[in-house]
């Protein structure tokens, strides 16, 4: 009896895992957010000079070699010559020293606090956006390649749950729009598949650059749900799930979005 119960529990667990890994949008049908833009914004994003996000990428390039903090180290003091191509495509990921899930923003701040003796940068600060954009830009065209095995597994499951959780006064989950209704119209907008591959991105509505978490908060506000503070665990888990969901889509940072 006990053994049967265990087997049942194991089967249920396996089913749960299989369910979480089931893809609502098959890899062949993945479409980046830029596919849902008008031709003008798509052209603006693809123009490496006129793309306003490149202002932040350029600033990030300068900041990369500017010393900061007590040890007067710059990012470039340790990360010499090698370049960071491909690095951003693997985030969010487990930071080995702490075993915690971190996104690119937090990874930059971990370097600043632990290695450089500098103050962490605030989310949505010009400096953090610039550094994140500069790093992500170096992975331009590379497919998102996050891992969900090992310690990341639990975060992936939590992200899956967060993605499918009904929230707010409208009682909608992310899946209701971005899995079930993408490609259809919502007033004057076309609903996208909700992929994170262009962030940080320049959004026309913001008239500035913003992180993925700012975009998530905008969705939450749109469905009249509570917005969580920046860097909260639920966002990180959700970011991991979104990255897995978009696996294979090329990085487009800095994206231009409506």
């Amino acid at each position: 009896m006990r053994r049967a119960g265990l087997a049942l529990a194991a089967a249920a667990l396996a089913a749960g895992v299989a369910l979480a890994q089931e893809r609502a949008i098959p890899p062949g049908e993945l479409k980046s957010g830029s596919a849902f833009l008008g031709p003008d914004l798509r052209a603006l994003q693809n123009d490496a000079f006129a793309n306003p996000g490149m202002l932040w990428v350029e600033r990030g390039e300068k900041l990369w070699s500017e010393p900061a903090g007590k040890k007067t180290l710059a990012c470039a003091s340790c990360h010499k010559d090698t370049g960071m191509r491909g690095a951003a495509a693997t985030y969010p990921k487990i930071y080995k020293a702490s075993g915690k899930l971190v996104n690119l923003e937090e990874r930059i701040n971990l370097c600043r606090t632990a290695r450089m003796g500098a103050e962490p940068l605030r989310y949505e600060s010009e400096e953090l956006l610039a550094l994140t954009a500069y790093l992500a830009r170096q992975s331009l065209g590379l497919p998102i390649a996050t891992r969900i095995d090992g310690a990341a597994r639990a975060h992936f499951e939590a992200g899956h749950a967060a993605y499918h959780l009904r929230r707010g006064q409208m009682n909608l989950s992310c899946a209701h729009c971005h899995d079930a209704q993408w490609g259809k119209r919502l007033l004057s907008e076309t609903i996208s598949q909700g992929h994170p591959n262009a962030y940080p991105a320049y959004r026309m509505e913001w008239q500035t650059m913003g992180s993925l978490e700012r975009r998530l908060r905008a969705c939450l506000s749109g469905i009249r749900a509570e917005m969580l503070p920046y860097g909260s665990q639920e966002y990180l888990d959700l970011e991991l799930y979104l990255a897995w969901r978009a696996q294979g889509l090329p990085i487009e940072t800095p994206g231009v979005r409506r």
């Binding site: 000079f49 006129a50 306003p52 490149m54 202002l55 350029e58 600033r59 008239q207 500035t208």
Partner: protein, 106 residues
């Protein structure tokens, strides 16, 4: 005020060249209110000018209808080697400038 400019490094005399500039600026319209209801003062780049070898070849009077981080593109004729120098001023009196040399042959 960060800015990016794009001017060909070299051209032949008589060529039509494309000149582009992107300036980082909030272009605050003067119509928005802050969180406590106070009007945010207008602050836009009101004059953008480009001198080519000391002669003004382009001038734009921008206003609150222009979006943040304005992007401007225009064409001029390559006549002589020299600097293309952009200058701009916003409502708070902040000035910015950026320059690049062009070599004209023939």
């Amino acid at each position: 005020m960060a800015a990016r400019i794009q001017v060909p490094r070299a051209a032949r005399r008589g060529d039509v060249i494309e000149v582009r500039i992107l300036i980082q600026h909030p272009m605050e319209t003067g119509y928005r209110h802050d969180d406590v209801g106070h009007l945010i003062k207008r602050n836009v780049i009101n004059v953008l000018s480009c001198r080519y070898a000391g002669v003004e070849v382009f001038r734009a009077d921008l206003s609150s209808g222009i979006s943040a981080n304005p992007y401007v593109q225009f064409y001029t004729v390559a006549e002589a080697s020299g600097d293309l120098e952009f200058t701009w001023v916003d409502d708070e009196g902040q000035r910015g400038s950026e320059r690049q040399a062009i070599v004209v042959k023939g």
